[in-house]
Amino acid sequence: MDPVGLFFYLVAFLIFGGIYAILCLALNVQWGYGGLFNAGIAGFFAVGAYTSALLTAAPAQTHLGGYELPVPVGILAAAVTAGLTGWAVAKICIRLKSDYLAMASIGIAEILRMVIVNEDWLTNGSLGITNIPRPFDGFVQGRAADILFLLVVWAVVIIVYLICNRLYDSPWGRTLRAVRDNEDAARAVGKDVDAFRLQTFVIGAALMGVAGALSAHYFRFLSPEATEPLLITFLVWVMLMAGGSGNNKGAIVGALSVWAIWSMTEIFANRLPAEFATRSSYIRMLLIGLLLQFVLQRYRSGLLPERSPGNAFDKDTDKTNG
C-alpha cells in the first residue's frame, strides 16, 4: 500500500472508529452509569440515521422529504427522535428486571427494521436514500472532504465525551451510581430510581441517534443494510466490555481497539485463498463472539476500569454463599 493510500485508510478507520466511540460512550451512559441493558442499539442508530438523512437530503420522489436542511439541524433532530424512541421503550420496561428491557429494546430495533424495509414512501425501502450531504460540502471536494469529516466526527466525539464526563461527576451522576450499586438504599433515601434510569436511557438513545446521523452523512447514502444489528449492537457491546464499562476513556479506547482488531482481520481475510475469503466474515463474527466471552470471564472491568472504588457490578466480593 502506498503512503497516501495508507493515510486515507487510516482516515476512514478513524472516522468509523469515532462513530463507534460515540456509540460506546452512549452505551456507557446506559449500562455503565445506569446498569441498563440495551440490546437494540441498532434501532436507535437507525432512527437517528434516517431522521437526519430525510431532513438534509436533496428532495426526491422515492422517499419522504429531502428537505435540504442544514446538517447540524439534522443531527440535532436525530438526537431528539432517537431519544423519544428510547423514552418509549424505557417507559415500558424500566420497572422490570433488566432482561425485559433487553427483549423490548431488541424488539424495537427489529420492528424499526421492518418499518424501514416495508414503508417505501418513507425510506425508499431497501433501495435506500441517496444524496445525503456532509457538513461543509461547499468548501472542499474529493479526498480532502474525508479529512474534514474526520475532524467533524472527532469534534463530536470530544463534545460527547465532555458531556458524559460532566454527567458522571455531577450530582445526577453520583445519584445514578448510587442507584446502580444499591437500588434499595437509593430508594430508601427517597430517590426516584425509575426516573433516573429513564433519563439515562433517553440520553444514551439520543447519543446513539447522533452516531447514526454521522454515519449516514459519512456514506452519503443510507439503506437498511447500514443498520445491521450484528455490526452495530453487538460490536458496540464487545467494545464497551473490553474498554471498561463505567469509564468514558475506556469506552473510547475499547471502541478504537476492537475496531482495530475488526479492521485488521479484514486485511488478513483479504489475503486468504478465495475459498476461505468468502467465509472470512463469519470467522470474524466467531472471533468477536469468543472475544466477548473472554472479556466477560477474565476482564470484566476492561482495559480501563471504572475510577470509583470497586466495580459496581462485580459482586465477587460480597457473594453470600461460601
Binding site: 466480593t317 460480597d318 457473594k319 453470600t320 454463599n321 461460601g322
Partner: protein, 240 residues
C-alpha cells in the same frame, strides 16, 4: 454420650466478613437445643453455617463424629441433617404432596409410605390439602408443610430457624407441641427462636449469643430463673 453435633471455635460470615466469632456448641442425641439472643447476634448464622450456607473462616463442625464444615449443602441431607429456613420455606406452586415428596429426593427413606404416614399423623391438617398448591395455604399450614418436607428425609438432626415467626399465638402453641412430638419420634433439634420464653420451657438447654459470641449457656429452666438473662433477653417480667 458423644454429641450428635459439636461446633467448636466457629468463626463464619458472608464474603469474608465474620458475623459469628469463636462459637462453641454441643447437641446430644435426643436433645432440643435453643439458641437465643438479641437481633443481629448471629443466631441464624450458626444454623446456616451448619448447613454450609455461609463462608466458614475458622473452626470445626462435627456431625456424628465426622467433620462437615467443608461439605456442600447437598451432601448434608443424605447424612441425616434437615433444615427449615425462616422465610420462603415452601415451594408455592408445588402441591402439598409434591412439597413433601421433594423431601425424599436427597435422602430416600427406607419405607416411603411409612414415613409419609408418620408425617401426616403429626400434621393431620395437611391430609385434606395434599393436592392443593402450597402457596394457597395459611401461614401456620405452610409451616407444617416445610416441617413435613424436612421430616420426609428421616433426619437425625433438625435445624429450625424461628419456626413460629409471623404466626398467630394459637399456632405458636401448636408448633411448640409439634416440636416436642418430633423429638419424641427420636429426632434431635437445634433451633433459633424469638419467642424465647415459651421456647425455653420446651428446650433442654439453650445458648445465649450476643454480638456473635457465646454469652451464656445453661438448661432452659436455669436460664428462665436467671434474673440477668431475664432482664436482658426475656423482657424483664417474671416468668408466668
Amino acid at each position: 454420650m458423644s454429641p450428635l453435633l459439636a461446633i467448636d471455635g466457629l468463626t463464619a460470615g458472608y464474603g469474608g466478613l465474620p458475623i459469628i466469632d469463636n462459637i462453641g456448641l454441643n447437641v446430644a442425641p435426643g436433645e432440643i437445643i435453643l439458641i437465643i439472643g438479641p437481633n443481629g447476634a448471629g443466631k441464624s448464622t450458626v444454623l446456616k453455617s451448619v448447613f454450609a450456607l455461609t463462608s466458614i473462616i475458622a473452626g470445626s463442625i462435627r456431625f456424628a463424629d465426622s467433620e462437615i464444615s467443608r461439605l456442600a449443602t447437598q451432601k448434608l441431607v443424605p447424612m441425616g441433617i434437615a433444615a427449615v429456613p425462616q422465610t420462603r420455606n415452601i415451594f408455592p406452586s408445588l402441591t402439598v404432596s409434591e412439597n413433601l415428596d421433594i423431601g425424599t429426593y436427597a435422602a430416600p427413606p427406607r419405607n416411603r409410605a411409612e414415613v409419609e404416614e408418620k408425617v401426616l399423623t403429626l400434621f393431620p391438617d395437611l391430609k385434606a390439602k395434599l393436592n392443593q398448591p402450597a402457596g394457597e395455604l395459611s401461614g401456620g399450614q405452610r409451616q407444617m408443610v416445610t416441617l413435613g418436607r424436612a421430616l420426609m428425609s428421616e433426619p437425625r438432626l433438625l435445624l429450625l430457624d424461628e419456626p413460629t415467626a409471623g404466626l398467630s399465638p394459637a399456632y405458636l402453641e401448636r408448633i411448640f407441641d409439634l416440636i416436642l412430638d418430633i423429638r419424641k419420634a427420636g429426632i434431635t433439634i437445634l433451633m433459633v427462636e424469638q419467642n424465647a420464653r415459651q421456647a425455653l420451657s420446651i428446650a433442654d438447654r439453650a445458648y445465649v449469643l450476643v454480638n456473635g459470641r457465646n454469652f451464656a449457656s445453661d438448661t432452659g429452666a436455669n436460664l428462665l430463673a436467671n434474673d440477668e438473662i431475664r432482664r436482658s433477653f426475656l423482657g424483664g417480667t417474671r416468668p408466668s
